[in-house]
């Protein structure tokens, strides 16, 4: 069984990457939140698997924290938010979806190329997945840029944090616990603030279209 652990971790890594791509091409916001939840679940599975294989209890806690935050609490909060805000569809993106996919592929190649020399030096058994983690971060970043509504931007931000936690897990078998707690706290507070903001934006502009937030420009 232990022999299969690196392959299983690679499998979860590929799943996370796949879900990142799925999130880029997804139009419906409800499904977007579900995809984000699945990504969190895959991340938790990878952490726990690595914890089992390397006998490090810290990773169990890290996985549990991710589970509580990214799989249970934040998706629940986001679902409630979109119900209250009554947003369902994000019809247009800044660039059309096939072009987004192509740019995504370019980002993936870039990330893999960047991370290849570094991942060879990693001690962790999941070291090869550093490139995948970086690719997920870049894809989430692109999602934040190309979306015109507030909720997908927030989900892109959260997905980027997912990618970073995954990078920490695969490159170094997790960061010290206090840092992980700090990061989790920051993410939680960040999402809460963003949630409040979305209500404010909705109140002011009667819509969550980010295009309304472009009045401050250089003259």
């Amino acid at each position: 069984m232990l022999r299969h652990v690196p392959q299983l971790i690679n499998l979860f890594a590929t799943l996370i990457l796949l879900l990142s791509f799925a999130m880029i091409s997804q139009r419906r916001i409800g499904s977007l939140i579900n995809l984000f939840m699945m990504q969190g679940a895959a991340l938790v599975a990878a952490s726990w698997l690595l914890a089992y294989a390397t006998q490090q209890p810290d990773l169990y806690w890290s996985g549990a924290l991710t589970l509580l935050l990214k799989v249970v609490f934040i998706p629940w909060m986001l679902q409630r938010l979109i119900r209250k805000l009554n947003v369902r569809w994000d019809v247009e993106t800044l660039i059309n979806i096939p072009t987004t996919m192509l740019v995504g592929i370019a980002l993936v190649i870039f990330a893999f190329g960047l991370a290849l020399p570094v991942s060879r030096l990693s001690h962790s058994m999941a070291g090869g997945s550093l490139g995948i983690a970086l690719a997920c971060v870049l894809l989430a970043f692109m999602m934040m840029i190309t979306r015109s509504k507030a909720v997908p931007q927030v989900i892109g931000f959260l997905s980027m944090e997912n990618g970073l936690i995954f990078a920490a897990t695969t490159a170094t078998n997790g960061m010290p616990m206090i840092v992980e707690f700090g990061i989790a706290l920051d993410v939680l507070v960040g999402v809460l603030i963003l949630g409040v903001f979305m209500f404010q934006i909705r109140e002011k502009f009667d819509s969550l279209d980010i295009h309304h937030l472009e009045s401050l420009r250089e003259d």
């Binding site: 490159a171 010290p176 700090g182 507070v189 960040g190 401050l216």
Partner: protein, 484 residues
């Protein structure tokens, strides 16, 4: 119960207290009180460091050395003076109807919490906690920028959050990579992320990993410093938030981010042995200076203009640290100090000027000297100071930077010089009509607090003429450490 406990604990306590009572009439005074107490604690800490040298606290998790001791005191001081300035300013804002009681509570408690996160960022020895503090500082300032709840401020705060969130995430990736490089030498424990430990073994860190890490760290923390092209949050955040917030953003937050970059640069230089980190920083710095000067000349909103001035000065500081010679490092540290003091003083006066005129457009503010001589003179002197007039400190540091540039990187000196001249001309052309000229503005309802302004300017003047020996000693030691 050592001094550091008080330095960190008082703002935290203040934030909790003001979260409950921040809307009462005495809240503004309580805010000043807490800032005063933390400033005193910072002074005590400084005295301890003067007497005993660099120190660790709490099992080496916190570290005070020549690089951050004066920054801690500076932060506490500017927090105090901004709190004093904010007393009448926010009262007037409340009278104008721009602030409601719940938002005052939010404002005051976030103000103290922001102070806490900055002090945490300066004093922590743990690179991971440094990141957490930077992110927390971002979150608190996002809430502070949006406190007026206007459409423009929401937009500014949203953009700020998204851009800085992305930037900070890159910095986290850089931190992870740094941890990975460190783990290979020190093993996977909490002590591996301590900067002092990393500094001891920096020659053994793998160059490939550290190169990649530094790039991400520079991009990440550089977003918060305001380096072009990652700067677009800065003008909006400065223009749309309350003026005390603009003052602390320019004066303090940019410094923390710069400090984070410097800590990482020391490790990178040690690991790589080449000057690559310095070269990248010089590139970004030069780009920031020139682009900011160009944008500055086209601004019509006074706070945006000074925001671009902040970008320009931070670019200059980055360039100085990028050059890396002891003189350039010294100049950079001096510039960080005086820029913080002078820029916040300018924002204090600009804040009252905009309150009087009811607008931030420079074309509609006139004749400050006639209506309120202190505000007018404060702005005039502050602008003179920031533009590099002798004998203020900014002149000394800019002079040192330019001469070092002419010696070390002669190709860059013309750009720097040109940018500084363009900024000089643009700002002067716009400020002179604001200060002099005829006007129909009426005086403010409550007397503005202008002691902070003149205190800052006086300090900047003093630093231009005479640097106290212990401060000089710290600058020299820090420069040596940065250049090694």
């Amino acid at each position: 119960m050592n001094a550091l406990f008080f330095v960190l604990g008082i703002p935290l306590l203040g934030s909790l207290v003001l979260a409950l009572f921040g809307h009462r009439s005495f809240a503004r005074d309580v805010n000043v009180l807490f800032s005063l107490l933390s400033f005193l604690a910072a002074c005590v800490l400084t005295v301890q460091v003067i007497n005993n040298g660099p120190a660790w606290y709490w099992s080496r998790q916190f570290y005070i050395d020549p690089l951050n001791v004066f920054l801690v005191t500076l932060t506490a001081f500017v927090s105090l003076s901004t709190a004093i300035f904010s007393r009448p300013y926010m009262l007037i804002e409340q009278d104008h109807g721009k602030m409601t009681p719940p938002r005052m509570r939010l404002y005051h408690s976030m103000y103290q919490l922001f102070g806490f996160t900055m002090l945490l960022g300066f004093t922590t020895n743990n690179l991971g906690l440094l990141w957490v503090a930077m992110e927390a500082a971002t979150l608190t300032t996002v809430l502070l920028v949006s406190v007026y709840r206007t459409a423009a401020s929401l937009e500014a705060a949203w953009k700020y959050f998204i851009l800085c969130g992305v930037g900070i995430a890159q910095a986290l990736f850089g931190t992870i990579l740094l941890y990975m490089a460190a783990e290979r030498v020190l093993g996977p424990e909490n002590a591996t992320l301590l900067w002092t430990n990393l500094n001891d073994i920096k020659a053994q860190l793998d160059p490939t990993i550290v190169t990649l890490a530094f790039v991400f760290l520079l991009i990440g923390y550089g977003t918060k410093v305001g380096l072009v092209p990652l700067h677009s949050w800065l003008p909006d955040a400065h223009a749309e938030g309350p003026t005390p917030v603009s003052a602390v953003l320019s004066g303090l937050l940019l410094n923390v981010a710069m400090y984070a970059v410097l800590r990482c640069k020391v490790l990178t230089d040690g690991a790589l042995g080449t000057a690559m980190a310095g070269h990248i920083m010089m590139g970004f710095g030069l780009l920031s200076v020139t682009v900011a000067a160009f944008f500055l000349s086209r601004q019509k909103d006074v706070k945006r203009m000074f925001a671009y001035s902040s970008i320009e000065h931070m670019g200059l500081i980055t360039f100085a640290f990028g050059m890396g010679t002891p003189v350039a490092n010294f100049a950079g540290l001096l510039h960080m100090t005086v820029h913080s003091l002078v820029k916040s003083a300018i924002f204090f006066t600009v804040g009252h000027a905009t309150q009087k005129a009811g607008t931030q457009m420079m074309s509609e503010i006139r004749g400050l000297i006639k209506v309120n001589p202190t505000v007018g003179w404060g702005l005039m002197i502050g602008v003179m100071a920031i533009l590099g007039m002798p004998p203020f400190g900014v002149f000394a540091s800019e002079f040192l930077i330019l001469t070092t540039a002419m010696r070390e990187q002669p190709w860059a000196a013309p750009f720097l010089f040109l940018a500084l001249v363009v900024a000089f001309a643009s700002i002067l052309v716009r400020v002179l009509p604001m200060v002099f000229g005829d006007t129909e503005l009426k005086p403010l309802a409550h007397p503005p607090a202008l002691i902070p302004v003149f205190a800052h300017l006086l300090l900047a003047l003093v630093l231009g003429l005479y640097i106290p020996p212990y401060l000089n000693g710290w600058y020299v030691q820090a420069s040596k450490m940065l250049g090694s």
